[in-house]
């Protein structure tokens, strides 16, 4: 019993999840709310989160729910960062496993500060592509005076 008391300090965790692509974009928020509901039910407090975005998976995954088997090449990926006691983690894990819409999930320890978001990464990637395109243009420009 004393060991459970020792671990009463809360810890920051992150729940990363993949949602089946067959779910309509409008009902994505329902799934996200269900996930957040699980966390708050066990006494966790949400710190940060990002709405799911669609990605192409690096390999084909499958999930069997009841009599249906889903074989997918893309999925919605999102994450929720929250704080809770370490004893609650097992409960969250089993509850998320039972959600039919969730293809896979990952529970990891993390820090309070958010160092990465998909939105930022996409923005950076777009900027890099633009810079690359602009970088190509000046290389063509000096060709004209040479022609004269």
């Amino acid at each position: 019993m004393s060991t459970t008391e020792d671990h009463k300090e809360s810890q920051v965790y992150e729940l990363g999840y993949l949602i089946l692509p067959s779910i309509a974009e409008d009902s994505l928020s329902d799934v996200v709310n269900a996930l957040k509901g699980i966390i708050s039910k066990v006494g966790g407090t949400e710190l940060d989160s990002e709405m799911p975005i669609k990605i192409d998976l690096a390999y084909t995954m499958s999930k069997v729910t009841g009599a249906r088997k889903y074989v997918v090449d893309d999925a919605y990926i999102g994450w929720v960062k929250f704080e809770c006691e370490p004893s609650c983690i097992n409960e969250i894990d089993t509850a998320v496993k039972q959600l039919d819409e969730v293809l896979r999930h990952l529970l990891v320890k993390t820090t309070k500060e958010t160092h990465f978001t998909f939105a930022e990464a996409l923005k950076k990637q777009e900027e890099a592509e633009e810079a690359k395109l602009e970088g190509d243009k000046p290389a063509e420009a000096p060709v004209e005076p040479v022609v004269q």
């Binding site: 990363g16 993949l18 990605i55 998976l57 690096a58 390999y59 995954m61 999925a75 990926i77 994450w79 896979r104 990952l106 990891v108 820090t111 160092h115 990465f116 998909f118 990464a121 950076k124 990637q125």
Partner: protein, 63 residues
Amino acid sequence: MKNPEVNIDHIDYKDVETLKKFLTPHARIQSRKRSGAPSHFQRSLATAIKRARFMGLLPYVSR
């Protein structure tokens, strides 16, 4: 040649663009000899790559 990326403080399993720099063409994790990463970073990098593979962000194998 040392990789300048090894000076990162935090590595996240979702940061695919950074993680990709530490993979070989066959999508295996680069050895420390090749990546030039300090031991603590190499360990967290390996964990992050394995997590990214599970979540379908990186492949397990690539031909």
